[in-house]
Amino acid sequence: MAQLLEVRWHGRGGQGAKTAGYILAVAAAEQGKQVQAFPEYGAERRGAPLRSYVRISDRPIRLRCSVRRPEIVIVLDPSLVESENVADGIVPGGLILVNTSESPSRVRAKIGQPDVKIATVDANAISMETIGRPIPNTPMLGALARLRPDVVTLEAAEAAVKATLGEKLSADIIERNVQAVGRAYQEVQVE
C-alpha cells in the first residue's frame, strides 16, 4: 500500500457513500492505520450526485482538502459512470470499482482508462437479495476486500460493518449486511 492511500466514492444522496467511507475508515483503523473520511457536502438532497473521500496512511493525516488523485474510485450508482467523470485524476494502476450488472469490459468501453483496473459487481441485486433494499454500500466493501486485501481484508470489512451499523440497526439487518459483503467478495469481476 502506498504511504498515503486515497479513495473516492461516487454515489447519490441516500445510497450511503458517507457511511461506506466511514466503514472503510473503521476497518482500516482496526488494522492499525491512520484514517480520515469525509463527504463533500453541497446542497444535499436524495438522488443528487455526491462524493465522499477516505485517506488511509501509516502516518497521522493532516491534509485538509478533497481527494483529487485517488488510487481507488468506487461508484455506487451505475448511472454515474456516464453522468460523472468518475475517472477524474485517478493514478495509473489504480482501480475503478462500479456497482453495475454490466461487465468490466462494458464499463471500460464507456470510460476508457487503459491504465487502470476496472471491476464490477451487481451490488444492487446482492443487497436486494440479502438486505431486501437497494443499499449498495456495504457489498462494495466486500468487493474491495477481494481486490485490495492490503487496504481492507474481508474479516476487517465484516467486523467494521458490524461495529458501525450496530449503533443503528437490528442484529438481523446487520447479519444481512455481512452476508452482502461476503456475496460481493465472491461475485466481483475484474479486468
Binding site: 466511514y22 475508515a25 469525509f38 457536502y41 493532516r62 485538509r64
Partner: protein, 393 residues
C-alpha cells in the same frame, strides 16, 4: 491512556459534553454543528447525563438561557455556528460582562449573505472583541481536547469568562479521524466539580446583575473586566500544561511547527494548519527553512508570545479566513502587525485572504504562498501586502 477510535468532529464534541456532564445545555442546532447537539440530546434522553437540556426557539434565547443558568450557579454549554452565533451577538457581550463561564463550541462557518453553509472564520472573528476567550482547534482531537480545557479555563476564580471552542465547519465537524477518547472518569476528574461563585439563587445573599450602569460606574466595570484577560492568558497556558501532564497532549497559546530556525513563516489558525504542516515538511526536505506558527488562543491575543515566535523570521505570511471589510485586511493580520510593532520588529509581511465560504485550500496554494514569501524576503518587502489566494478575477 484513552482509546484510539475514529470519530467525527461533532461527535467528539458531544462525547466531551457527555463526559463533562454539564448542568445545563440550551441550544438551537444549526449546520454544521447540528450533530453535536443532536447526539448530545440523545445522551440526555438516554439518561447518560444529568444535564437539564433546554430546547429554545432561537440562538438568542439559547445564549440568554445559558447566561441565566450560569448566573444561577450552573455549569453551562452550548454549540452553534455562523448565523446562530450572529443571532447571539448582544448576549455574547453580556455573557462576558456578567463573567459567566459559559462554554460555546462553534463549528466555524461563513456568515450570510449569500447563504453559505461551509467553513470560514467570519463568524467567530466577528465576535473577537466580545470578551470571550477563543481557542482554535486544528482537528477532531483538538476540538475534543479544547472543549475539556475550556471548562477549566473559564471557571478559574481569577478568570470567570466565557470560552469559545472553535473548530472548522465540515472540515473538522464532519471529518472522521482517529482520536484518543479519554476515560469518562479521567475527564470528570480533570474538569472537577463546578466552581460556584456567588450563585444568584442563594436567597440568603441576594445581589443584582445587569442593572442600569451609567457614566458613574460603567467605565470602572469595563476596566475591571479588562483585568481578567491577563489571568485568562495564564490560565490557557497552565491548563494546557496540566492537560498534557494528565493526558499526554500538551497545549499552549501557540503551536509552532519547525519554527525555531524558520526564515519563511506562515501564521494560521484552524484546520488549514494541518495542510501547511505537510507542505512545511516537503519544503524542509528541499532544504528551505519554512515554518508554521499556529495560533491556538486568539483571545486573549498572545501579543508578546507571537512577537517572540516571529522575531527571527525573514518574512511572514498571515492566512486570514475572514475579510475585515473596510479595514483593508483580514482579521488576524492587523493583530500580528501590532505584536511585531510593539517588539520593534520590522520585517516583510503579507496578508492572504483565503478559503471564504468553504473554498478549498490546496497544498499547491500553500506552496505558492511560500514561493511568494521567498520573493518578498529576498526583496525585503512588497508593494502588494494584501493578496487574495485562489480567487478568480
Amino acid at each position: 491512556m484513552g482509546k484510539l477510535i475514529p470519530m467525527e468532529g461533532n461527535q467528539a464534541v458531544a462525547e466531551a459534553m457527555r463526559q463533562i456532564n454539564p448542568d445545563v445545555v440550551a441550544a438551537y442546532p444549526i449546520t454544521p454543528s447540528t450533530e453535536a447537539v443532536q447526539i448530545f440530546a440523545r445522551f440526555v434522553a438516554d439518561g447518560l447525563v444529568d444535564t437539564n437540556y433546554v430546547a429554545v426557539e432561537s440562538e438568542h434565547s439559547a445564549m440568554s438561557a445559558c447566561i441565566a443558568a450560569s448566573l444561577a450557579g450552573a455549569r453551562v454549554m452550548n454549540v452553534t455556528a455562523a448565523q446562530g452565533l450572529a443571532l447571539m451577538w448582544e448576549m455574547l457581550y453580556i455573557a462576558a460582562s456578567m463573567r459567566t463561564p459559559v462554554v460555546l463550541s462553534v463549528a466555524n462557518r461563513a456568515l450570510s449573505g449569500n447563504i453559505n453553509i461551509h467553513c470560514d472564520h467570519s463568524d467567530a472573528m466577528g465576535a473577537r472583541d466580545a470578551g470571550w476567550i477563543q481557542l482554535w482547534g486544528e482537528n477532531v482531537q483538538e476540538a475534543y481536547d479544547n472543549l475539556i480545557q475550556a471548562v477549566v479555563i473559564g471557571e478559574r476564580r481569577d478568570v470567570r469568562l466565557p470560552v469559545m471552542n472553535n473548530y472548522d465547519g465540515f472540515l473538522v465537524s464532519h471529518s472522521y479521524e482517529l482520536m484518543e477518547l479519554e476515560e469518562d472518569a479521567a475527564v470528570r476528574e480533570f474538569v472537577g466539580e463546578p466552581v460556584y461563585v456567588r450563585p444568584m439563587l442563594d436567597v440568603s445573599n441576594p445581589y443584582t446583575v445587569g442593572a442600569l450602569d451609567l457614566w458613574d460606574f460603567y467605565h470602572e466595570h469595563k476596566r475591571g473586566q479588562w483585568e481578567a484577560y491577563g489571568p485568562a492568558k495564564q490560565a490557557v497556558v497552565e491548563v494546557g500544561q496540566a492537560f498534557g501532564e494528565r493526558f499526554g497532549r500538551y497545549y499552549g497559546l501557540l503551536d509552532p511547527y519547525y519554527l525555531d530556525d524558520a526564515d519563511l513563516v506562515i501564521v494560521a489558525l484552524g484546520s488549514t494548519a494541518g495542510t501547511i504542516k505537510d507542505v512545511v515538511e516537503q519544503r524542509r526536505e528541499r532544504g528551505e527553512k519554512a515554518g508554521l506558527l499556529k495560533i491556538r488562543c486568539f483571545r486573549p491575543f498572545p501579543l508578546e508570545e507571537v512577537a517572540d515566535a516571529l522575531s527571527s523570521a525573514k518574512a511572514v505570511a498571515v492566512m486570514d479566513r475572514a475579510a475585515g471589510f473596510g479595514s483593508g485586511w483580514g482579521t488576524v493580520y492587523p493583530e500580528i502587525l501590532t505584536a511585531l510593532y510593539h517588539k520593534g520588529l520590522v520585517l516583510p509581511t503579507v496578508d492572504y485572504i483565503y478559503g471564504l465560504g468553504g473554498r478549498m485550500i490546496l497544498p499547491e496554494e500553500i506552496h505558492q504562498v511560500y514561493d511568494e514569501l521567498a520573493q518578498v524576503a529576498a526583496a525585503g518587502g512588497t508593494a502588494e501586502p494584501l493578496r487574495w489566494l485562489g480567487v478568480r478575477v
